[in-house]
Amino acid sequence: MKRSVDFDALFDDVYPRLHRYCLRMAADADIAEDAAQEAFVRLLDHKVRGELPGLKAWLFKVATHILRDRAKVEQNRARLLEVNPVLPGSHSTPDEELERKERVRRVRRALARLEERDRTLLLLREEGFTYREVAGAIGVQASSVGTLLVRARRRFEEAMSDEEGE
């Protein structure tokens, strides 16, 4: 890959998804943005070359490590579980907004209750990763991703049910 040529295409294609992934993973807009950008900086630093799928997988993996390595992620997640984003342009009533915030809180808490592998698997799949790519990222066989995905979703649903019961 010629960096000066292909970097922009790579960035345009991957950054929005990587940012969303980091945001869902970290539950913190600052951390998400930092991690997504730092992954790209490392890509440039290390002069990583390759095809788009491989580079995408590399970026998500690095971003995952960045998020994991930041000890403050967990404490921020805990802190931010109670803080919900206000979406621009929202025209909902105060009651609807309250309900939406409560639902966001439950989703975050449910996600936080998952094992890291389940959380990573769910979020990577949401970003359109193939089973092979997911398998490479979490260290399992591609043939088992379907089963692991079903289990991860069930655990998430259970966690959501628990949150709704509390």
Binding site: H19, V41, D45, P85, V104, R125, T147
Partner: protein, 255 residues
Amino acid sequence: MTDHVEAGEIQAWLDNELRGVEAARVQEHLETCARCRAEAEEVQKSGAEISGALRLLDTPPRRTLDEARWEVRRQWAKSRGRGSRRKSVVAAAMLVLVAGGLAAVMPGSPLRSLWSNSGVDVVPATELVAEGETDRVGVSAAFRDGRLEVELEGAPAGFGVEVRTGSGDRVQVRAHSAARFGSGAGRVTVGLEGEASNDILEIRVPPGSGEVLLRTGSRFLLRWSEGRFELAEGLVAEPLPDGVRLQVPGVSEGP
């Protein structure tokens, strides 16, 4: 083992991750088994609900894509500056012109055909190459979305870039490391300060600008006019699939 297919297989089939006989086996079974069909619907519904739940967590990025890319390049330039502040001299300066972004914002631009025909159109410049060149500086430039980005590598203190416009268009220049700016009629100058440094200059040029001249030090490098690049005589051009790379013999003092 039952005759039914497992949820994981159903999931893989729904995700189009099964091939050949495996995909056919699951599909045939689902066509005849109401129980597994119900399971498939349940798996699909669950996936959609979870996707919807996760979307609740999304908030728009605070930075636009362009701003985020810019920030990445700024951080990278900064890290390179820390790591290789010492390379005040590089073996060969390079100028990379990327035409794709420019062509994208200028439908019908002759630039596209220029590159696609691999015809690197080197036109003798009207300004002469300065004598007394000393250090060589890595210079790369890329046009995208009507913006010319210039990266400097190993630039010595006082190294400068000058941008001139022939039509009086407004040109915006940003630099991240210490720099001094100057301006005049149709002209913007940027001089780096301090030790040898790396930086990215962002030069915003309106897509409809009639003419832009880029100089480094006392050397004229290129002119962009009516969708065409004119490169200074003496620059060795190497065609790339979507652009051209130039070997710049050398540059010296700032403007």
